[in-house]
């Protein structure tokens, strides 16, 4: 198809789009609503994911050594643990470091500090382990307990108490994703149906032209192009409106966002991901519109 035909087809589509008036506005509104819901689901699942990661990062397990062990041997074990693939970081805290940390934590509590002076250093050296995969704690602890180093260990700060929380959060996130996808699908289908109906109406108003175009041997793509253009225009305008709405909505909900997920820097996120966000909005809008026109073309435009 030559450029001339292409541009004429696009131009005819733009003309039809503006001729539809109120119907265009209604169609765009429903696509905007769909995009808004897509965005909301996206933000919610992002918050949930961040929260989960946050909690996971805070959980680490501490293995306490007996007070009188050989520090070299302990460090040997720490080196071994930190080389395990599931481990992100394993850090050794000597007796002295533990004391400093303890003093810092209680530096306003005179009684504790005083009694500490009398006791000397009652603390144990320990290793604090951060995991890449929180589910691997158990196996690592088992490994350590069954190794030649088992005699060094006095105590383990059990992770298992925290495990149910993580599992529950994980389940919640999965549920949010599933429900979110279902809602998105429902609204996408509604948006496609409404857009499809608008294009069908244009086809009806345009039926004379279509009939004549077929009779005089128009290029089939020239006949289809105005309708595809129209469908994509609905999505295109809806995407921009959705973007214009998105920023103030995020801005005003920022305090609430930060109260549930303090680690999310929404404004920074919007700015750093601006191109991606615009692309997703335009992409989803235009694809929704194009799908609608293709369905209408298949159903009603026998060319």
């Amino acid at each position: 198809m030559e450029w001339l035909t292409f541009w004429r087809g696009i131009a005819a589509g733009i003309k039809n789009f503006f001729r539809n008036g109120w119907l265009s506005i209604a169609t765009i509104s429903i696509i905007v609503l769909t995009l808004f819901i897509i965005n909301t689901v996206f933000v919610i699942s992002l918050i949930a994911k961040e929260t989960l990661e946050d909690i996971q990062n805070k959980i680490d397990v501490s293995v306490y050594f007996k007070g009188d062990i050989d520090e070299n041997k302990a460090r040997e074990l720490v080196g071994l643990i930190s080389k395990m693939p599931e481990v992100q970081e394993a850090k050794y805290f000597s007796k002295e470091e533990a004391l400093i940390a303890f003093k810092q934590k209680h530096n306003e509590d005179d009684i504790v500090l005083k009694s500490l002076e009398e006791l000397g250093n009652p603390l144990q050296p320990s290793v604090s382990i951060k995991m890449k995969n929180p589910n691997a704690y158990q196996s690592i602890l088992d490994n350590v307990r069954n190794s030649q180093y088992k005699d060094l260990i006095s105590d383990v700060d059990y992770y298992s108490e925290k495990k149910p929380i993580i599992e529950r959060l994980n389940n919640i996130i999965q549920a949010i994703r599933k429900i979110g996808m279902a809602i998105i699908m429902i609204f996408a289908i509604i948006a496609i149906l409404v857009t499809f109906n608008s294009i069908r109406l244009t086809m009806f108003n345009y039926r004379r032209e279509v009939e004549i175009m077929k009779l005089v041997g128009a290029n089939p793509w020239f006949i289809r192009l105005p309708f595809i253009t129209e469908g994509m225009l609905y999505g295109f305008f809806a995407a921009w409106i959705s973007l214009i709405i998105l920023y103030p909505v995020i801005y005003f909900s920022l305090p609430y966002l930060n109260s549930v997920a303090p680690n999310i820097d929404a404004i920074n996120f919007l700015h750093s991901q601006a191109i991606k966000i615009v692309a997703i909005q335009l992409g989803s809008g235009v694809i929704l519109g194009a799908i609608s026109s293709l369905i209408a073309i298949r159903k009603y435009l026998k060319v």
Binding site: L215, V216, G217, I223
Partner: protein
């Protein structure tokens, strides 16, 4: 140029519109296809432009079975056969000029090319001075001439007219027939489907008579007789 070989057309619901048609139409001919309403004249023309497919038999256009035309080739085939109808099929929101240029626009022709061609064709059908008028401002005969201009603007090999004078009075009817004869003289093959006895008798050219979907007569210089 056109060959119908044992062509039958059965519409859904067992309506037999054409039965075993055999025809041979040469380039440059003026052929009237006559018969009462419902005998398959329109169906014959619709098969030719591939608006319908034959149920049986073969239709050859320039020795090519038209059923073998691909999706891309069908529009090109249709540009070789201009069609006009009883109801003109004009776009009322477009001027005479725009109605004619529409056919070239949708085929992707350039605007200078379009202006030149449309001007020339409007001259042939005698509507140059009406080119900025809208169809509703024209008489029936003039509207049909716009439709003829649109059908001719691709310089087709064939002009197929389906009851073009059905909505016209006697004077306008004869004007249109004269125009068709003139177009034929300029080299275009003309197929005229009609049930109007007077016009056919006055044309005095080849007549193919249909009855109940069958060719009952095919005469070189025929009269309308059934």
């Amino acid at each position: 140029m056109i060959k119908f070989h044992n062509v039958s057309k059965i519409y859904s619901g067992d309506v037999v519109a054409l039965r075993n048609i055999n025809l041979d139409i040469n380039s440059g001919e003026f052929v009237s296809i006559v018969g009462q309403s419902g005998t398959g004249k329109s169906t014959l023309l619709r098969l030719l432009i591939l608006e319908e497919l034959p149920t049986m038999g073969q239709i050859l256009f320039n020795n090519r079975d038209i059923i073998t035309f691909t999706r891309r080739e069908i529009p090109l085939h249709r540009r070789k056969i201009g069609v006009v109808f009883q109801d003109f099929k004009l776009l009322n929101k477009r001027t005479v000029f725009e109605n004619v240029s529409f056919a070239l626009e949708v085929a992707g022709r350039g605007s200078r090319d379009i202006r030149q061609n449309v001007g020339q064709i409007l001259d042939i059908v005698g509507l140059t001075d009406k080119s900025n008028k809208y169809p509703t401002q024209l008489s029936g005969g003039e509207q049909q001439r716009v439709a003829i201009a649109r059908a001719l603007v691709h310089h087709p090999e064939i002009l197929a007219a389906d009851e073009p004078t059905g909505n016209l009075d006697m004077i306008n009817t004869w004007e249109i027939i004269e125009l068709l004869l003139r177009i034929n003289k300029l080299g275009t093959t003309v197929l005229l489907a009609t049930h109007n006895k007077d016009t056919v008798d006055r044309i005095n050219r080849r007549v193919i008579a249909l009855d109940k979907g069958m060719v009952i007569r095919d005469q070189k210089e025929g009269k309308y007789m059934i």
